[in-house]
Amino acid sequence: MRGRSILCAFGLITPLLAQAQAPQKKDSLAKADSAARADSIALVHELEKELGKPAGDSGAAAQTPPHASGGYMNIGFVSLTDAGWSTEPDIGSLERGDHDPQVRGFTIPNTELALDGAVDPYFKGFSNIVFKLDKNGETGVELEEAFVLTTSLPANLQLKAGQFFTEFGRQNPQHPHSWAFVDQPLVLNRMFGPDGLRSQGLRVSWLAPTPFYTEALLSIVNSAGGATSSFRSEESPEIHGGRATERAVRGLQDMLIVPRLATSFDLTETQTLLLGASAAFGPNNSGSSARTRIYGVDGYWKWKPAAAQQGFPFISMQGEALLRRYDAAERVSADVPTVTLPNETLKDRGAYAQVLWGIKPRIVAGLRGDWARGDDASFDSELRADRFRVSPNFTWYPTEFSKFRVQYNYDDRKEIGSDHSLWFQFEFLLGAHASHKF
């Protein structure tokens, strides 16, 4: 039936084709145009002459725009300043993230220099260099991300290679500047450390040929380094207090493997749902064959009316739940050499849920609940203790290139007690326009 209607369409078109091709091959369009008169035509031709494009020539492909912007590389610069006060003088025990507020008073925990552009016809390149001031005001520099992304692999495949945030869950791959809160969720900090899960390696992803969005991703990255907490990073041993075991990479089993599956549906014209499941498998340095397994699920839902003004109003909800199994091999305590820690598997879990309400253009109210706990083990670490946090906040974006945020944190550390903190944040962006993934 459909085939027939298309054939009919061809039938209708054919005489027109003959008509169109008949007068002149080269200038058929110009002829037709002038036949159709009206002074606007003259203007079109005048414009075309000016732009050096012969009228009716269909061969010429894209012209150079009036002036090219940028150059070979887009440059963006984002700077975050935090300020505030807390009932806990040791802010580091409350805020463990590298890009979280660090002291009572002012801090600049994250300033990014972002560079990106097409490398060649096959790759796009991205790099993010972070400058930060630590709690003593010393400047630190880190190569946060530097990777290439393929642009035209067959079979809906895509490769990422270099140093990058591992695609586990929703927030881990996001830069602090896209977070909706001043600080990192407790559970992500606990599982992935102060700087998130970030390493060097390869990621392959496949867009499935389903009618709705389904993407399967697999990262194979180094399990050691500064940002692989829970695995072979230097930060790992302290979660149960043992002395780190040196271990070399012997094969694939010593790499960090991170599979992820994500899917999304447009529930209605104005509502979208995104669901994901991730896992991370790799060795840890508590013993020669000790391993860590982390599992996570994440969800994101957003409502935005069809006629939103600059993207407002909107309501979004986001949540992630994670579970960690950490094999702690029998070994000597790092602090007390006479103590031997038993062979055990440490179980941790945690979740956060946040809701954002974009009340009117450029004003967003947010509320986040955080929860994290670890089971009892032979060594009690504050890093695994039960915690609960509630954080209401309020953000004002004068434009999409700057923002002011105020956030209150109610922290409840079960054994230690509760704390109150108030944080302000100011951010500005220079250069390349910030474009954001959903």
Partner: protein
């Protein structure tokens, strides 16, 4: 025998549907106005989808995962260009992994290319608001600019799908003739209001005003993308009274309440003037939409005379 024939016919029908569906060019446009042009030039042999909704601000579309799927399967992508979609299209394209619509590919159409852009800034300075470095991207409200875009679409479709090249050219000829006929009509309708003074919310009627000899005396936004402030609105009201500007044009995604407050103070009316086909009933095509814009504006200006 009969059964056999039915089965054969059914098989042929299935084969025909399958092959024609596969052969149908999938054209994705970022906005409904571009989609409408693609339908005019492609005819009913191409399958056209728009990413943005008719009532959605083309600067602020959510980059939804479903858009990745749409782009992944596209043969042709038409974008407005001039940084109109800069906030949301790049991450979608990165994820779409579709070389057919990569920058510079035949399947990628940048509508702004070749259009005489207005308001190209002489310096990059965001203290002047969210100014687009390549010029004001709202050029599709000028039917003459649209002819340049239509020809670019026809050229690219012909390159991507040479089998139907002649059909795309023929459709272009028809389209141009229709634009010319309509242009005369629209100009006649707006002729009595030559040099009429109007106010807009955003700088989105610059090309339209230029084409139809209207004068935009103020915008409610003090600078592009910057929210109206009371001080600026007071100034706008003053200008409107002094210049005798009696209409304020707003799009569905702009703040009508603000516009109405200003209109009340200035003795003006607010006109709903969406530039996207489909944002109002019976404005499904570019021509319907322009008809609507011209008629609405003429009625609005007449009512104020």
């Amino acid at each position: 025998m009969n059964l056999h024939r039915i089965a054969t016919l059914a098989l042929i029908a299935i084969a025909a549907t399958g092959s024609s569906a596969a052969a149908q060019l999938r054209v994705v446009a970022t906005t409904p106005d571009l989609a409408s042009l693609a339908r005019e030039i492609g005819g009913n042999v191409v399958n056209v989808t728009a990413l943005a909704k008719p009532t959605e601000d083309p600067h602020y579309v959510d980059a939804k995962p479903s858009h990745i799927v749409t782009l992944n399967r596209a043969d042709v992508l038409i974008e407005g260009g001039a940084e109109l979609e800069l906030g949301w299209l790049p991450p979608l394209l990165e994820s779409s992994r579709n070389a057919r619509i990569a920058a510079g590919a035949r399947g990628r159409i940048v509508a702004s290319t070749g259009v005489r852009m207005l308001e190209i800034p002489t310096s990059f300075d965001r203290s002047k608001g969210d100014v687009h470095s390549l010029g004001n991207p709202h050029f599709l409200a000028d039917p003459v600019s649209v002819k340049i875009v239509a020809r670019r679409i026809s050229d690219h479709l012909a390159q991507v799908d040479p089998r139907l090249a002649a059909s795309y050219k023929a459709n272009l000829v028809r389209f141009n003739a229709r634009i010319d006929a309509k242009m005369a009509e629209w100009q006649r309708q707006l002729a009595p209001f030559r040099n009429a003074k109007i106010v807009t919310y955003h700088k989105d009627f610059v090309y339209f005003a230029n084409r139809f000899n209207l004068e935009i005396v103020e915008t409610l936004e003090p600078k592009p993308g910057i929210a109206p402030s009371p001080a600026h609105l007071a100034k706008v009201i003053g200008t409107m009274k002094a210049e005798n500007a009696r209409v304020i044009l707003v799009q569905p995604y702009q703040n009508r309440r603000t516009a109405e407050t200003v209109a009340r103070q200035a003795g003006a009316v607010v006109l709903d003037m969406p530039q996207q086909p489909g944002a109002r009933p019976n404005t499904g095509t570019y021509f319907d939409m322009m008809d609507y814009l011209v008629t609405t504006l003429a009625a609005g200006l007449r009512g104020q005379k």
